[in-house]
């Protein structure tokens, strides 16, 4: 199947007084129709910036897309003017934001906020748009939509607001949905409900989803494929099973190892030592090398290319080079992988 979205060599930088912060440093990925790609990584790894850049929502200045292509249905969004992009935003590509408490306009009725995109993109009359808004509110599971449509955001709870944010994103049946940590600000029971809503809608509309999160439990639940980001680059990308059962990059090992589990017998939860590099002066070799237990000399000198593991599994680590010593993931991660394979991880989803 053809790619709905194809990102090639995307670089995004922010010009600050201290210099150029290279937030995204050459990212490639693609999303097909009906597919969910999860982007995981710790805070500051560039995952949010990547998705914002896709929609042209990076504040410029100080931000800018330095180079690269964002091909959406064959058209390069990176080269489009803001006016052209405005016709795609909300219609073909929509975004679900992280914080439901601040993502809605506090002085505008919820109904009007949902209807806005419909009136703009689908040239609907007010009453038609209202009908569709009621439908959407029902779809995302908000009771009494006739009542709720006339209310303001402050009359909604956090979970209900996030449903409104999702309803806004879904208004025009977007072909691509960018979800920037849509469940991070919600408590666990609501999280599960929201994820179900998103999955149902994806099935119905066959839309592609880019799902940003740092919660691996959520990833296992929703994703078809996973891209692991570190310091502005994708270090490993593959099917969800590849990433969970056959991870190759030491950073992915670290992420999996630092996930709490019910089987773990150790008292202390594993944490990756150190902190992510300063992207004002990104390190020369593998950006993860200083924090990695498996770093080799070359990791500090030369950046690893993407090594092919299988047809859809790639990882950027010198450990995959033919001359590299054979390295197994740490024991805790191996135990985790076994636990995952036996299916007992259902319980420890956050």
């Amino acid at each position: 199947m053809e790619n709905l979205l194809e990102v090639n060599n995307l670089h995004v930088s922010f010009d600050t007084y201290g210099g150029e912060v290279k937030a995204v440093r050459g990212v490639d990925f693609s999303v097909k129709k009906g597919e969910t790609l999860a982007i995981v990584g710790e805070s500051g790894s560039g995952k949010s910036v990547t998705t914002k850049a896709l929609m042209g929502l990076i504040p410029q200045p100080p931000g800018r897309i330095k180079e690269g292509e964002i091909l959406f249905e064959g058209k390069d969004l990176a080269k489009m003017k803001d006016k052209e992009l405005a016709n795609i935003r909300g219609k073909d590509i929509a975004m679900i934001f992280q914080d439901p408490m601040t993502s809605l306009n506090p002085t505008m009725k919820v109904g009007n906020q949902i209807m806005e995109g419909l009136i703009k993109h689908q040239k609907k009359s007010k009453s038609e748009a209202k009908e569709r808004a009621l439908e959407l509110l029902k779809l995302v599971g908000i009771p009494n939509p006739e009542e709720r449509i006339k209310q303001y955001p402050h009359q909604f709870s956090g979970g209900m607001r996030q449903r409104v944010v999702i309803a806004i994103a879904l208004a025009c049946n977007p072909k691509l949905l960018l979800a920037d940590e849509p469940t991070t600000a919600l408590d666990v029971t609501i999280q599960a409900q929201i994820l179900e809503v998103m999955k149902d809608i994806q099935k119905e509309m066959d839309s592609g989803i880019v799902f940003i999160t740092h919660d691996l439990g959520v990833v296992a639940n929703v994703a078809d494929r996973v891209a692991v980001m570190y310091a502005g680059k994708i270090v490993e990308i593959g099917k969800v099973d590849d990433i969970f059962y056959n991870p190759k990059h030491p950073y992915t090992w670290g992420l999996l190892g630092s996930m709490p589990s019910l089987e773990s017998t150790e008292d202390e939860l594993y944490a990756i030592p150190g902190s992510p590099p300063d992207l004002l002066n990104p390190p020369k070799g593998d950006a993860f090398a200083p924090r990695s237990d498996h770093a080799m000399k070359i990791d500090f000198e030369q950046e690893p290319p993407m090594f092919k593991v299988t047809e859809d599994h790639y990882a950027a680590t010198w450990l995959l080079h033919e001359h590299a010593p054979h390295t197994e993931p740490p024991k805790s991660v191996q135990a985790r992988m076994k636990g995952m394979a036996s299916g007992s991880s259902e319980g420890d989803r956050k």
């Binding site: 405005a86 935003r89 934001f97 002085t107």
Partner: protein, 308 residues
Amino acid sequence: MVRYISERLVYMLITLLLIATMTFFLMKLLPGTPLSAADKLSEEQQAIVLEKYGLNDPLPVQYFNYIAGLFQGDLGLSFQFDNREVTTILLERMGPSMTLGAQSLILGTIIGMLLGLIAAIYHNGVVDYGSTLIAVIGKSIPSFVFAGILQFYLGVQWGLFPVALWEGWEYTVLPTIALAIFPIAIAARYMRTEMLEVLGSDFITTARAKGVNRFGVVFKHGLRNAMIPLVTIIGPLAVSLMTGTLVIENIFSVPGIGEQFVKSINTNDYPIIMGTTLFFSFLFILIILIIDLLYGLIDPRIRLTEGD
């Protein structure tokens, strides 16, 4: 809503009564008597006059007489203006002051808000610096300087508007502009800061993600949110403009209340001082009430629900 407003009106009355009391006693602390300048009167004549106005009574008696009068809507008679009623004098004098104040407030906030908006939209551009410059000039240079410039160019050189006096609408133009410069500066600064803050908030990104264009983002989503803090400063600004300004009224020979007020303090014209103070206080409290109601109109989060 009705209950809320009537409750506020009761509080308003209590506040006014307190202000009346405080002003009354503070005023009595002013040195001299209303007659201190009238050296042409003999001591007996002075005693007769003081007796006539009840100024020889003990202070508590004077106070209760005054408050009793207040409740009957009687602000007393002026000492210096031929025994005319204070109410009449106030009404006569407030007209020009309030006209100028209201006109300059409306003109000033509208122009100021537009300037601030443009500055925020073209943030850090030439327009932004230009509007900042205007704001700084407007805030730092006193209004009488502008008054002089306006009189010279618009009045004398080009003869567009009358230079002074108060004989029709065209006479209000120059003083209104002179007075409007300050609110322009204030509104422009506030609008710019608030708008920039609002434009950086998450819900603006949501709006942009919906495909709303720049214009829609600023006017449909930004303006109402940016106006909330602006409303707060417009209240005191409105009062200070409407209660007349001594300097501007003098320069343009406007028969306003500002000049009147200062004169009555100098001559110990007790009823005028009391009346004017009470009237200003009333205006101030009223404007605060209006602003509280405006908040509810602009910001649904502080709107009163039916139950309250």
